[in-house]
């Protein structure tokens, strides 16, 4: 029977020949991602139920990221619970402050993600890892507790939706614009419960980093997972990042696999897109919304805080000054160091930006760049919900790193193509 890549991975994890959409399966989990907001409660639940065991201390990857370094006493206590538990359980891959980074940038970079695996994490953007031909999805704390203890979870096999990215992407338009265009098309619940499988020629020239921006936002269309097939770009990234066990199995969708729906996007016709408040699906071509005044620009997060993103922003900020508060957050310590080595910090400094340590921070309205009432922020993050980055009456505009940088220079939503020669 023909299957999609998502079905094949889930069938393997369930020890079955085949699985069909809608089927309930019990799947073996390969990697569990843990961070400082959702894991401490999971640990407390396990303690409360007298469950002492973790299924495999080498397959649970722990990084505090949301409020790290601790922003207040309460978050310091969350971190303490996480630290103590990780030590007690002998968690092998624990990233303490100094090595900790935004989870979805850190795990692939540190070589924890392999094609064909089933990965879960206590965070909705865990779908990011699908960029490496893996099945990856976000879960809450109770599921996390169950996964930590048993290494297994039940899943309903999702139907798949095929997203065909046609054409090639014009200059000044980036994978962030592509995914914002996709979500504009599907709506925030158009892929509810479904696997979003991205295919098409536009992916060919996209780096592994740029692909992560796409799968990262599958959840913003309601998707269960986002997934991109394996190719030589995937292989190259894995060759450079995988540590230790470099073996993995590559699955691909059968040519006659069934898709519940197909969405086609002609990337060659795209212009930069801005998702206006308060939904990621509120995308507008920049020609229709340039000029809106901003108070802050934010360049970072699991969506767009990787080295490539910082290079794109620096390319525009070089030799220019920002007109508004501009916060640059490299997503991991390795990205931070690379940006420094490449001289990007010099550019950000001269432009008048502040550079923070790797953290989720302001992306979720935690700290390090909170908005006051009425303020507007142009941001490379993935959510622009009410109150997401601060006051319930503040506003977040989602854009690519290029649009964020150009808008920072002018203090208003600005088409980055005027800065790219």
């Amino acid at each position: 029977m023909a299957m999609t890549i998502t079905q094949k991975i889930l069938a393997r994890a369930a020890g079955k020949e085949k699985v069909v959409p809608g089927e309930l399966i019990n799947a073996a989990i390969d990697v569990v991602m843990c961070h400082d907001v959702t894991t401490p409660p999971a640990i407390s639940m396990l303690k409360a139920h007298g469950i002492d065991k973790v299924f495999d201390p080498e397959k649970i990857i722990v990084t505090p990221d949301h409020f790290q370094p601790a922003k207040d006493i309460k978050s310091a206590e969350l971190h303490k619970r996480l630290d103590d538990w990780a030590k007690e359980k002998g968690i092998k891959y624990y990233y303490p402050v100094g090595r900790a980074g935004v989870c979805h940038a850190l795990l692939p970079e540190q070589g924890h993600i392999r094609p064909g695996e089933v990965i879960v994490g206590g965070d909705s953007h865990t779908c990011t890892y699908g960029a490496f031909a893996a099945f990856s999805t976000g879960i809450g704390s109770t599921d996390l507790a169950a996964a930590i203890a048993t290494g297994q979870l039940w899943f309903k096999v999702p139907a798949s939706m095929k997203i065909v990215l046609k054409g090639s992407i014009p200059a000044g338009v980036y994978s962030k614009d592509v995914i914002l265009a996709v979500i504009k098309e599907t709506g925030v619940d158009g892929a509810l419960y479904k696997a979003m499988e991205f295919v098409g020629p536009a992916l060919k020239n996209m780096s592994a980093e740029a692909r992560m921006t796409i799968t990262n936002m599958a959840i913003e269309a309601g998707g269960k997972n986002g997934i991109i097939g394996f190719d030589k770009t995937t292989k190259k990234y894995l060759d450079e990042h995988l540590k230790g066990d470099a073996e993995y199995t590559v699955y691909e969708s059968d040519a006659d696999a069934e898709y519940e729906s197909v969405v086609e996007i002609d990337c060659s016709r795209l212009e930069p897109i801005v998702a206006l408040p308060h939904l990621p699906s509120n995308g507008k071509p920049i020609s229709q919304c340039a000029g809106i005044k901003m108070e802050q620009a934010y360049i970072g997060s699991c969506t767009n805080g990787r080295i490539e993103d910082l290079r794109i922003a620096a390319g525009i900020l070089k030799g220019r000054k920002v007109a508004i508060r501009t916060i640059v957050v490299p997503a991991t310590p390795a990205i931070w160091k690379q940006a420094m080595d490449e001289g990007l910090f010099e550019i950000f400094y001269e432009a008048g930006c502040v550079i923070s340590a790797p953290t989720c921070g302001a992306c979720l309205g935690g700290f390090m760049g909170i908005l006051a009432e009425g303020q507007k922020c142009v941001s490379t993050t993935n959510r622009n919900f009410v109150g997401r980055m601060g006051h319930p009456r503040s506003e977040v505009y989602l854009v690519s790193p290029a649009t964020a940088a150009a808008s920072a220079v002018e203090g208003k939503i600005t088409d980055p193509r005027t800065y790219i020669v």
């Binding site: 639940m45 109770t142 509810l192 309205g365 919900f385």
Partner: protein
């Protein structure tokens, strides 16, 4: 009897149910104080034991924070009735032993302030104010069992 609090909105997200600025704790009573704060600052004050929230499509979209369910449980909300739910929220709710009901056109079948009574297994909402019975498809048995046991971990323990 439960009172309905109707929000004629789609995509009520986890940032509205419990804003991230309160995620530095998992203390249920603390979370309950801020339940629904960015949508309706009055909510925590006006919700009495067992009251239900009624909403449109995609309730609970956004983050995977189970804190959203805990805040609702802490605020003594008995159930959420919505036209549809976001996937992670729905799963979290069942895992926490919290009732979620999918009901087509819910916001037009139940009015704000209506007194209702719910039979979860039979799939019937008795709208006492309107004097009408509304049918819904009950949760599958295994989900009802998890909820009755008080959540997934209790359920796993009980069945071990």
């Amino acid at each position: 009897m439960a009172k309905a609090h109707v929000y004629k909105r789609d995509h009520i997200n986890t940032d509205e149910i419990i804003p991230a600025r309160y995620l530095n704790t998992d203390d249920v009573d603390e979370l309950a104080k801020h339940c629904m704060e960015d949508l309706d600052a009055e909510f925590a004050g006006k919700c009495s034991h067992g009251d239900v929230i009624v909403a449109g499509d995609d309730f609970g979209c956004g983050s995977s924070r189970e804190h959203a369910v805990w805040a609702l449980q802490g605020a003594k909300v008995g159930a959420v009735i919505a036209q549809s739910f976001a996937r992670i929220f729905y799963r979290n709710a069942i895992n926490c032993g919290f009732y979620v009901i999918e009901l087509e056109d819910a916001v037009n079948k139940i009015a704000d302030g209506d007194e209702i009574e719910i039979d979860y297994a039979a799939g019937v909402i008795k709208n006492k104010t309107a004097g009408k019975d509304i049918n819904f498809t009950p949760l599958p048995d295994f989900a009802l069992e998890i909820i009755r046991d008080g959540g997934l971990l209790e359920h796993i323990k009980k069945n071990r």
